[in-house]
Symmetry: C2
Subunit: 329 residues, 2 copies
């Protein structure tokens, strides 16, 4: 569906009217290798479109691909694992995609996969002990109060607006943004999702550790994961409030990476994946011993609720959106 | 003189006719911080020109700076040391500047400092035991036979041609290339320069080690430093044979970084600088013990010829060239 949307909507002839280079960016590329496959797929789609529909006799455009992530990302590893025979000129761009990264009107296709659920920061209200959004006994909005959810949702909407406003400057009219992201079906509670159950388990383990006096409850209250999975309804609402992009197509799916034989979750592999992805955030707030203990207990705790977890993993927790830059602004 | 050449020759209004972005590249940027100063200086010159001569009332162009070096360069360190408040969008480009790095006609100013004396490879004739360029008892062309010098000079000229041909595609007509590089005054022998004396010392130490049986003489013969400092005459000749660039200005100077009080070289500091820059090349060919011993002996050996070294350090061993892309091709 993403390929079809690009094929249908990207007017290559128009985009190349002032130069013969198509510029593509992957925002939140990490260290590879998934980004290389994604970039090659986009190039293949454009080449095919060019050959079959546009100007079969004229020379193929050149491609320049920009790999973006935070300045602390390991770009050395990214560069070393880059395909040696690539069909594009490669460049890396360090910085937050919630701000400007590229000159005006310099990009044609932007891609971002599993990156926009990361908030730019923990919502400020969550860090104020006197706020109604002080997140007592939790590390996420799952199962938390209405004020906590509202603070998270507001921060996410602000961040997506910043993302769209920055991209509106950087992408030429007619250019395309492809977003693949964590999602939650409209109308569901986050605590019904497998990740929500897991965050609740983590909070519960940390509270037990606090009861043993190794950390304080306030340390648990003050720690909040800066991640938010929006529903398609929320996503569409932010895009519609932003005047620069139209939604070309969108969809939900269930990536099920942890469902072995379509039924069971390999909990050990799941926890080591989660640990690799999230340990750094815990380590900024808790000592190494506490973080170790939390992850060690996690597998056992999750196994106790494996039936609910496995059932939840069938939810459509992945969404994609293809947006097109309109002519306004 | 470089600033003046840019101010005089760079037609900002013409370059910006199809976009409002000036694109600058530093080829061979290493890990900083010198590259940040150099890029800012170029931007300052262009801004001043823009404000005073071009279109004082129209908005300032945006700047995009591409930092290039080999893929093995430590780009993580480069990104971490980048000025946080910079007036440009930054990107890194991994790869050899003797090949293509950027799309057609996508750059306006290219800068390269102390990078073009690195050959793309050791000249092939030097690796053939049966060639007249087999470099017996030496590690460089200094004091070596005519065939060895010819092989080095030929490789350097081929490499500079490759550099100019790649840049000719990437730089817009009217765009500028600024090169600062190691140089040798026309008519001088490399063995008269301080670096030549040093390479001869290194070879002599390695031959002594070979006499003690720790390495073979053939290992010394087969090792050659892939670096060549061309004279202004040679440089001009390659540019003139290449049809794409005109020389706007050029000059020679004496950077004297090692002359304390304008007379004496701090040999200890000099050797640790040289070791930091060159140890890697020796380590690919000799064991760690041999490399350690070579650098340990080097300071003592150089001190024996410090009068000649210090005198040689007054030579004009730095040159700069400002080239402009013409309209041909």
């Amino acid at each position: 569906m993403i390929e079809e949307a690009i094929t249908k909507k990207l007017d290559v002839k128009f985009l190349l009217s002032s130069s013969n280079t198509i510029r593509i960016a992957d925002l939140g590329c990490a260290v590879g290798p998934n980004t290389f496959d994604a970039m090659q797929s986009i190039i293949d789609v454009i080449k095919l479109k060019y050959q079959t529909q546009v100007l079969p006799a004229s020379p193929m455009p050149e491609f320049q691909v920009f790999f973006n992530d935070q300045p602390a990302n390991d770009f050395n590893t990214l560069f070393k694992s880059m395909p040696p025979k690539r069909e594009y000129f490669a460049a890396a761009v360090p910085g937050s995609f919630y701000g400007r990264l590229f000159p005006d009107s310099s990009l044609h296709v932007v891609y971002s996969s599993y990156a926009l659920h990361w908030l730019s920061k923990v919502p400020e209200d969550l860090e104020d002990k006197n706020s109604p959004a002080w997140n007592r006994g939790k590390i996420h909005h799952a199962s938390a109060g209405e004020e906590v959810l509202r603070a998270y949702a507001g921060q996410w909407a602000d961040d997506l607006s910043s993302f769209l406003n920055a991209r509106a400057r950087e992408i030429v009219p007619g250019g395309i943004v492809v977003i693949v992201t964590h999602s939650i079906p409209d109308g569901m509670e986050y605590s019904e999702l497998a990740n929500g159950m897991m965050y609740n388990c983590m909070a519960s383990i940390l509270l037990d550790i606090a009861k043993r006096g190794l950390i304080t409850e306030e340390q648990v209250d003050a720690f909040n994961l800066p991640t938010y999975a929006a529903s398609p309804g929320e996503f569409v609402s932010v895009v519609e409030n932003n005047e620069y992009f139209n939604i070309v197509t969108m969809g939900e799916s269930n990536p099920s990476p942890w469902l072995t034989d379509d039924v069971h979750v390999d909990m050990n592999e799941f926890v080591s994946h989660i640990r690799a992805a999230m340990e750094g955030m815990f380590s900024k707030h808790f000592s190494r011993e506490i973080v170790n203990e939390m992850f060690e207990q996690l597998e056992a705790r999750l196994s106790e609720i494996s039936v609910e977890m496995e059932s939840a993993y069938k939810d459509k927790i992945q969404a994609f959106y293809v947006l097109q830059r309109n002519d306004s602004g």
